[in-house]
Subunit: 224 residues, 2 copies
């Protein structure tokens, strides 16, 4: 794709994320997105033939994010992955739109399982690696623990959104990890983990320094 | 209220639950509900002056459900409460509509925190009682654990809905409890808990026998 076409496509996706985030999938219209992006209907349809295609575009943007840095402790890497996602939800409109689309039971024509599956895969792989190196208890079934974590995270972000518009998300996610990890990890690993509320912000800054620029596509927004 | 008015009100709420469950709050219209309930607009407005009032009516119906029977083990009572809710989600349209309204980030004019708070209160009280009688570990903060459980449950039901239309909900909720309870309970209590998949159905049958009729208002539906 030409540079200008890439720019237009990104601009449309950012506008779509904002509209889906504010209005939800069902209430959002193509006209809302063209108005927000300041593009013609023709330009939009060139990149995205339908509202479903737009939603899938927003969902796929989540995959373009850089993974969290490798850690000697795979469980710390798992914690970092979860805490960075909490921080992105607090600060990034594209991430919020992706999560809301995934949880939107009305958006039934789009593949809502995909993001759950990708997240569960990432968590499962880290738990498997942790088990191989003896951090994770032998009775743990990584796939089961991964699905508990991903499902629980999805609900805790919804609760945080309802209670505080995400202001307490990092604290709630920290509480989830403190409740689940003792069933999963050896005690000496547990005490060495950094589960503090600022962990997500810290690792995001580390990613920024590593990769030069924010990997996220959405416009940063202030959530109060 | 006269018996007939009570009957009409219940009929309207059941129709509203069905419509909210199928279409979501934002897309649902008063006309959908009057058509489903086979009542006039005037009859509906007599009981519910707005769509928001209807949604709040559906949410309040959740409170009319009988609590799970008292158990010597407060943690078993907590497990029963959670497993019965999973079973209701699988089988009862009114419960599903209530949960979806609570998680619907578009339904911003209605009080979505209420159901989270009531559920968290119930869990907190059982954890406090469990702590008083030595079942719950001394370091546990019942309010924190309650909010983790309620938030996690909300997400796990969404994941189960996306994956299997609730067919695997009891299994997923059992996995959540097996991951969280070891951080909360003394080991001898843990091994005595019934966390089996059929627990919700079993306790629901017990409630039915105790109270003579299903406490739920919604029409039972088959979820496949």
């Amino acid at each position: 794709m030409q540079e200008r076409a890439i720019e237009t496509r990104r601009n449309i996706l950012e506008a779509a994320a904002k509209v889906f985030d504010e209005r939800g999938f069902q209430a959002a219209t193509i006209a809302d997105v063209t108005a927000e992006a300041e593009v013609t209907k023709g330009a939009l349809y060139f990149h995205f033939p339908s509202k479903e295609a737009l939603a899938e575009g927003v969902l796929r943007e989540q995959d373009g994010q850089f993974p969290t840095p490798e850690r000697a402790s795979r469980l710390q890497q798992l914690v970092d992955t979860v805490m960075v996602q909490a921080y992105r939800l607090e600060t990034d409109c594209m991430t919020r739109a992706g999560v809301r689309l995934t949880l939107d039971q009305r958006a039934s024509n789009i593949d809502r399982k995909g993001p759950f599956e990708r997240w569960a895969d990432t968590c499962r792989e880290l738990l498997e690696a942790g088990q191989r190196q003896g951090e994770v208890l032998p009775h743990v079934v990584p796939a089961d623990t991964a699905e508990v974590l991903v499902g629980a995270f999805a609900g805790i972000q919804a609760m945080s959104q309802a209670y505080s518009n995400y202001a307490d998300l990092s604290a709630r996610v920290g509480a989830l990890l403190r409740h689940v990890l003792p069933s999963v990890a050896h005690a000496p690993v547990l005490v060495s983990l950094d589960l503090s509320e600022r962990r997500g912000e810290k690792v995001s800054a580390e990613l920024l320094a590593l990769h030069g620029e924010e990997p996220q596509r959405g416009r940063p927004v202030t959530v109060g």
